[in-house]
């Protein structure tokens, strides 16, 4: 792993008695597009708000660009772009005024050319007031404002929630444009798995406040598999494949969803079993995610890399 831009140590947050985030340990290396996946209320927004110092952790800590989250200096904030869900902006401001407002805070980093280009591309005029914009247009302004500050780290919390496919595509293009530049990092949380699959290098899955997966996208995709076997007799009691998430049976076929199980382990497990052979069925990312986060008796923490 290269330089770490975001890190958490046992980051925990309670809202009263509700545990929103449970001992989160994340490391985000520079230069990656990091997709944070999780269902509604899983703790993704809480994690991001803690990272950016908008919430105080109940215990644990986190750092952004080497600076403690609860005391981010103006210099560090100046290097982090933040786009949050709903894109709250000052309703009364015309886009031009908002541009000047934003510019005043980033005198050295403001990329006027990029902002102009993006406004043109989105066909937005500087005279339009924020209150007159649709949700999608406000998202576009939000994205342009964040990207024109030339951030080293772009943090986006469900930026395309409720927005149409065109806007979602534009956000992806923005992320790719940013990541092409050396040394930039993107952290974004999303429900849209296809978007995450397109642009993410690494994914983390948070489920009910617990980090369940933290690996490269490829590892995620190749490790969660469906194994089908046609039975010739009933399986012995207690028969289990290593890494099973779920198991389903019907008249003649049993299906397992497994995590991180190697082919050798499968061969070994089935060598003595009354089955006609087995096959591994590829899954799409949505199914993998669903199987991984559906509550089941067997939960597996999913970590593939040694933490240095």
């Amino acid at each position: 792993m290269g330089e770490i831009v975001l890190q958490t140590w046992d980051l925990t947050k309670y809202y009263g008695r509700h545990l929103a985030l449970d001992h989160l340990n994340l490391k985000i290396p520079k230069g990656t597009v990091y997709g944070l996946l999780g269902r509604n209320g899983s703790g993704k927004t809480t994690a991001i708000k803690l990272l950016l110092g908008f919430l105080r952790p109940t215990c644990g800590s986190s750092e952004v660009l080497g600076c403690d989250s609860s005391d981010l200096t103006p210099e560090i904030r100046g290097r982090v772009g933040y786009v949050c869900e709903g894109h709250p902006l000052y309703k009364w401001m015309p886009i031009g005024t908002l541009e000047n407002f934003q510019k005043a805070f980033y005198p050295d980093r403001w990329d006027k050319h990029l902002f102009d280009e993006m406004l043109d591309y989105f066909t937005l005029s500087r005279k339009q007031r924020i209150r007159s914009l649709s949700n999608g247009q406000r998202a576009q302004v939000s994205l342009a404002l964040a990207m024109a500050t030339s951030p080293d780290l772009l943090v986006m919390d469900d930026p395309t929630l409720g927005l149409d496919v065109v806007i979602r595509r534009q956000f992806l293009q923005g992320m790719i444009h940013l990541i092409q530049q050396k040394g930039k990092t993107v952290l974004f949380s999303s429900h849209i798995l296809s978007d995450v699959e397109r642009v993410a290098d690494r994914v983390a899955v948070i489920d009910k406040g617990v980090l369940r997966a933290d690996c490269t996208l490829e590892q995620f995709r190749t490790s969660i598999r469906k194994v089908r076997a046609e039975r010739t007799g009933s399986l012995p009691a207690g028969f289990d494949l290593p890494g099973t998430l779920h198991c389903r049976q019907d008249d003649s076929v049993t299906e397992w969803i497994v995590v991180g199980t190697t082919d050798e382990q499968l061969e070994q497990a089935f060598s003595q079993a009354p089955v006609k052979g087995f096959s591994c069925v590829a899954m799409n990312m949505e199914d993998q995610f669903i199987e991984f986060t559906t509550p089941s008796g067997n939960r597996r923490l999913f970590e593939w890399e040694e933490r240095p």
Binding site: K49, L52, F54, L55, R56, P74, E75, I76, R77, G78, V80, Y82, C84, G86, P88, L89, Y90, K91, W92, M93, N100, F101, A104, F105, Y106, P107
Partner: protein
Amino acid sequence: MKFLALVKKEFRECLPWMCLAFIIFTGFGALLLRGKVLYEEGRRKEIWREEQVVPWCTSPISDIGPLLLLTALGLGLVMAIRQFYVPAFDKTWAFTLHRPIRLITAVHAKLFVAILGLTLSVGLPWTGMFLYAAIPGRFMDPVLPKVFWEGWLMVGLGFILYLGTAVSSLCQARWYTTKVCGLAFAAGIIFLAMAESPFPAPLVLTAIGLVVLGIQVYALMQSKEF
């Protein structure tokens, strides 16, 4: 540069309220003053006719007092709501506070605009009215300088209510527990200051109020979760 940008934004957001306060105070104040001047002219005629004259109980300009107090309090209340309560409601705190600034700078900008607003909308018109009333010959009874400072004290009380409202807005407890404390404390200070009391007391009370509420605002902003 950054502070100025924040000030401009805060100013523009409170501007409609400042204008409203200015219009109300200046409008009604001028009417009141005009009424006094006309009454004064009537008095002069009576004196000239050597009739019994009922002396002024209070300085004519003092009758502007209640209007001034109400306007200052009203403006303070509304500005605090606009600056500290609305951003939580429309979620723009996240945008404002993710600027590359120290948190305290955002607070300073808001406080600066509040003081500026009260000064421009209420303080300066009051000064103008007082100077108008103080022109020699305008009123027979002398217009005392202390009245001038009392007027500005009321502007200060407006700022006290502003701070109290800010504290209540920022407090994350529920209304029926400690959230109402800021407002209650401010109301207490205002009430005591306006009650008949020997001279330094209102000033001291206002100063205490400013310090206590001011510290509360800073402390709450530092510890608040957004």
